[in-house]
């Protein structure tokens, strides 16, 4: 097959420009690794460093046991026992000196238990509701364990659960999050870089030169997309290597699946970039258009919040989101070894969405001035 010299020349020129521009080269090759590191470390669904105050009478050893349990769990950081004299614990919460307060009966927890009327008050700063919910669960757990230690004959639970966590045995959120973040970064970079590259031609007069040359719309479109698909593909091994070395995310699936999913996804996002550029007259507009697409795409992708939690109407948007399918594919390939059923279902959906986006972009990509 003889390659079209106009397209080859175009690809060469586009890659020369992209790699020569230090900002663009940084954006393509360095920023993803930095972002992956930052997001992977910062975005964590585990709640840690909870400052807890236990309010009890001095010498209440059950209250002390709760404190010891809390420290041993590793979830709580600053644990203090205050005397009941420090009555106003609401102030402690309001002044952010503590995040949760456990207040036991003033006469002592032991005595209250004997009387069969033991009440423990739990106050939690719920400014961040989802964190507060987890803090509540942790504190309850700690108290339950502390009291169980104390009772001489613990009642045997009727059922014993044999719990085995598959694919991510230590339940580290990074292992779950990193593949999603990789998909997200790849999406951001390819959409922004492609739409900016086309908008730049429009902004300067170079687009006029191109369209007055005897090259077809298809050739210009190929010349402006193929280089960015190649750059996007070149980025995949870099972020995979970063994910594996920095976060210990396993790569259990086949490279064939990875390459296939990567190619379809990158082609789709590059076409999204083309679509955005058809609405933009200059690079600023392309950038803004990119964000209009990217924010909903990131939020409705299941990368940070489960798709199942999205209200039904909005969930429809998630099912149209290429990022959702690629994040699923990456998790399936990296963590679960690439189940073929999951692969074909998601890659099929991704292909269909990609083809639809490509058709609309190509139809809108005009090689005439308005």
């Amino acid at each position: 097959m003889k390659l079209n010299p106009a397209i080859v020349g175009f690809i060469k020129k586009e890659l020369t420009q992209a790699l020569r521009d230090p900002r663009l080269a940084t954006l393509i090759f360095l920023v993803p690794v930095i972002q992956l590191t930052i997001f992977g470390l910062a975005i964590s669904s585990e709640v840690k460093n909870i400052s807890l105050t236990v309010v009890s009478r001095p010498g209440d050893y059950l209250a002390r046991r709760i404190e010891e349990r809390a420290v041993a769990s590793g979830w709580f950081s600053a644990v203090r026992i205050d005397s009941p004299a420090a009555q106003d614990y609401a102030t402690l919460l309001r002044e952010k000196r503590t995040e949760a307060v456990v207040a036991v009966a003033p006469e002592g927890l032991r005595r209250a238990l004997e009387r069969g009327n033991a009440k423990i008050q739990l106050l939690i700063d719920a400014a961040n509701a989802s964190r507060a919910r987890q803090v509540e669960a942790y504190v309850k757990n700690v108290i339950a364990r502390a009291l169980a230690d104390n009772s001489q004959a613990p009642p045997l639970p009727p059922v014993k659960l044999d719990l085995r966590v598959l694919y991510n045995p230590s339940l580290e959120s990074a292992i779950f999050l990193v593949p999603g973040i990789m998909a997200m970064i790849l999406c951001i970079i390819t959409v922004i870089v492609t739409s900016m590259a086309i908008a730049r031609e429009r902004e300067t007069g170079t687009f006029e030169t191109l369209i007055s040359a005897p090259v077809s719309t298809g050739e210009i479109l190929a010349g402006k997309t193929v280089p960015y698909i190649l750059l996007g593909l070149a980025e995949i091994p870099i972020i995979i290597a970063a994910a594996v070395t920095l976060f210990g995310v396993p790569l259990r699936g086949s490279l064939f699946q990875l390459a296939g999913a990567g190619f379809v996804f990158v082609s789709t996002t590059v076409m999204v970039g083309v679509l955005i550029s058809t609405f933009a007259q200059n690079q600023q507009q392309a950038m803004m258009g990119g964000f209009i697409f990217l924010f909903p795409a990131l939020l409705l992708s299941g990368v940070m919040f489960p798709v199942e939690n999205i209200p039904a109407g909005w969930r429809l948007l998630a099912y149209l989101n290429p990022l959702m399918y690629f994040a699923k594919l990456l998790r399936n390939i990296m963590l679960k070894g690439g189940d073929w059923g999951v692969f074909w279902t998601n890659i099929g959906a991704l292909c269909a969405i990609g083809a639809a986006i490509a058709a609309v972009s190509a139809a809108r990509f005009k090689t005439r001035l308005n």
Partner: protein, 242 residues
């Protein structure tokens, strides 16, 4: 005898851009093989006219006809023979002179051997040989325009459309650009260039005076001035403005 380069005929071409009527029933005849100047102040419709000739814009009404030796040629056939050099910066600041020429070689699908010989000749003619590895963004205004011009001249077009090629160029470089164009016209090429420098009109074989989208007059520069009874084209526009 070799047939002269293609000529272009405009028949009552009208184009409205937004709310402005950029061209208003313009009919004129660009004879093949000559250097034509479109003269007019800013906003006269010069760029719109050139964009229509290049096929970048479609006229709202009227027709543009290309012909060679009396025979009409459809636009699709003549298109590869048209080169257009826009007024706005049309080169890539981060590519060198040599890389630009290579890119245009690929766009116009020129054979390598022909390219090697032609690009050297053009670089020499434009006196840009020493700057072949310099990036377009670092060229002076005059060198930049010369590079743009040799890029579109590379495939030896039959029709060359230049939109204010001499704007913002110092007098010496302007002279060089003019020499370059004269060397390339001489019957082999139809050059249509726009300018708002009235003194450049006298260097053209034919001039067309355009104002507010309307054609005022056209013809050989000397004869036209005589007919209009003005000492210079500036005077014509000053008088019209009143």
């Amino acid at each position: 005898m070799q047939t002269a380069a293609a000529g272009i005929k405009l028949e009552s071409v009208t184009k409205t851009l937004g709310k402005t009527r950029a061209l208003d029933a313009v009919s004129l005849d660009f004879k093949g093989g000559l250097l034509h100047g479109i003269i007019g102040p800013n906003g006269a419709g010069k760029t719109t006219l050139l964009r229509i000739l290049a096929g970048l814009l479609h006229p709202d009404s009227g027709a543009v006809r290309f012909s060679r030796g009396g025979a009409q040629i459809p636009f699709g056939d003549i298109r590869p023979e048209i080169a257009y050099f826009p007024q706005e910066p049309s080169l890539y600041p981060d590519l060198s002179c040599a890389e630009h020429l290579e890119f245009f070689r690929d766009l116009y699908q020129l054979p390598r051997a022909e390219f090697a010989q032609k690009s050297e000749a053009l670089l020499h003619l434009a006196r840009l040989e020493k700057f072949r590895n310099r990036r377009a963004g670092q060229l002076s205004g005059g060198m930049y325009k010369k590079l743009g011009l040799i890029c579109v001249l590379l495939h030896a077009p039959e029709i060359l459309l230049l939109d204010e090629p001499t704007i913002g160029v110092d007098p010496v470089s302007r002279r060089e650009l003019w020499d370059l164009m004269h060397d390339f016209s001489a019957g082999r090429m139809t050059i249509i260039m726009s300018t708002s420098y009235m003194d450049e009109a006298e260097r053209c074989a034919r001039v067309q005076l355009l104002e507010n989208g309307k054609l005022l007059a056209g013809g050989e520069p000397g004869a036209l001035l005589e007919k209009l009874g003005a000492a210079s084209f500036e005077k014509v526009f000053l008088r019209e403005g009143k």
